[in-house]
């Protein structure tokens, strides 16, 4: 794993997002699933229950890919990076609207864009020569 930036990033981000997803539940008691205004993680990042579940799923997907193989990590990093880029752009229009079912605020948008840049850059930029997964890769 230490030889592949994609696997390392997927494991680090996966663990990070899993932790964020779990911590999110500590600030969303009494917040409904799709509430447009939720609790604040670290006093900054607004989340509702749906947002927490999304973090848990993204974290699990990245972590599983990271511990699996390089190809899975590359695909997952690039895919989730692209999704975060779209969410970051959409978030600029969703903040303050009735369609904000993830309770996104400006701090979330910054974090989503930052995640998108790093995941996309590593996903399409690193580990370019990848063989099919073998036993040595696992």
């Amino acid at each position: 794993m230490s030889k592949s930036p994609n696997r390392m990033l997927a494991v680090i981000f996966g663990a990070g997002y899993l932790l964020v997803g779990l911590l999110g539940f500590t600030v969303t008691s009494g917040v409904s699933f799709f509430a447009t205004s939720g609790g604040r993680l670290l006093g900054l990042f607004e989340v509702n229950v749906f947002h927490n579940v999304a973090h848990l799923l993204i974290g699990a997907a990245l972590l599983i890919a990271g511990v699996s193989n390089i190809l899975a990590s590359r695909i997952m990093n690039a895919t989730i990076g692209a999704a975060y880029l779209l969410l970051g752009i959409a978030g600029l229009f969703l903040v303050g609207s009735e369609f904000n079912i993830l309770a996104i605020n400006s701090a979330d948008n910054v974090l989503h864009f930052a995640s998108a840049v790093v995941l996309l850059a590593v996903g399409i930029g690193a580990d370019k020569v990848v063989k099919r997964p073998t036993a040595a890769n696992h």
Binding site: S2, K3, P5, L44, V95, N105, S106, A107, A121, I124
Partner: protein, 178 residues
């Protein structure tokens, strides 16, 4: 070229492309046409540099990276000689300077690469070192690009930061120009 340097080059090209594209709406038509082409080329080259194993068209890009700076300098000279200040004032100083720094970095890094070992593929750095360098490069380019974008006409039309959610911005902060 080291994968780390290639990553920084890609970020710099994307940053320069974004700044040049943001300058389009406030520029006179002839400048706007050039800026659109330049911005798209820089952005595309940055993405290709990430995606491809080799640096795309390094000799051509080294020249193209310098041309906008030379053209900007000539405009400044012409504005003084012909008493036409709009030639310079239509291109805001700070965004142009930031884009110029990115271009200079690209030209310098590519020149060093071509002089040293154009065909040699260097061994990949360790994952931790690569990721740390990538994140460092992203932060530096982000910190330079964000104020440059804010200094363009596009940036002035953007939603004032903090207005999405008043508590995100420090309560006592005052943002000039908003």
């Amino acid at each position: 070229m080291s994968p780390i340097t290639r990553t920084w080059l890609a970020f710099a090209a994307i940053g320069a492309g974004l700044v040049h594209l943001a300058l389009v709406i406030s520029s006179p038509a002839p400048f706007a046409v050039v800026l659109v082409g330049l911005g798209i080329a820089e952005f595309g080259w940055g993405v290709l540099t990430f995606a491809r194993a080799n640096l795309p068209a390094p000799r051509l890009v080294r020249v193209v990276a310098i041309v906008p700076l030379l053209a900007w300098s000539l405009l400044a000279v012409a504005a003084g000689v012909f008493h036409t200040p709009w030639l310079v004032t239509s291109l805001p100083l700070m965004p142009m300077a930031v884009a110029g720094l990115f271009e200079l970095f690209a030209a310098a890094a590519i020149s060093v690469h071509l002089r040293r070992s154009p065909g040699v593929v260097r061994p990949a750095p360790g994952s931790a070192r690569y990721l740390a360098a990538l994140m460092g490069g992203a932060v530096v380019v982000g910190l330079m690009t964000a104020p440059a974008l804010a200094g363009t006409e596009s940036g002035r039309h953007a939603q004032p930061h903090g207005s999405h959610d008043a508590t995100f911005a420090p309560a006592s902060s005052v943002h000039p120009g908003h």
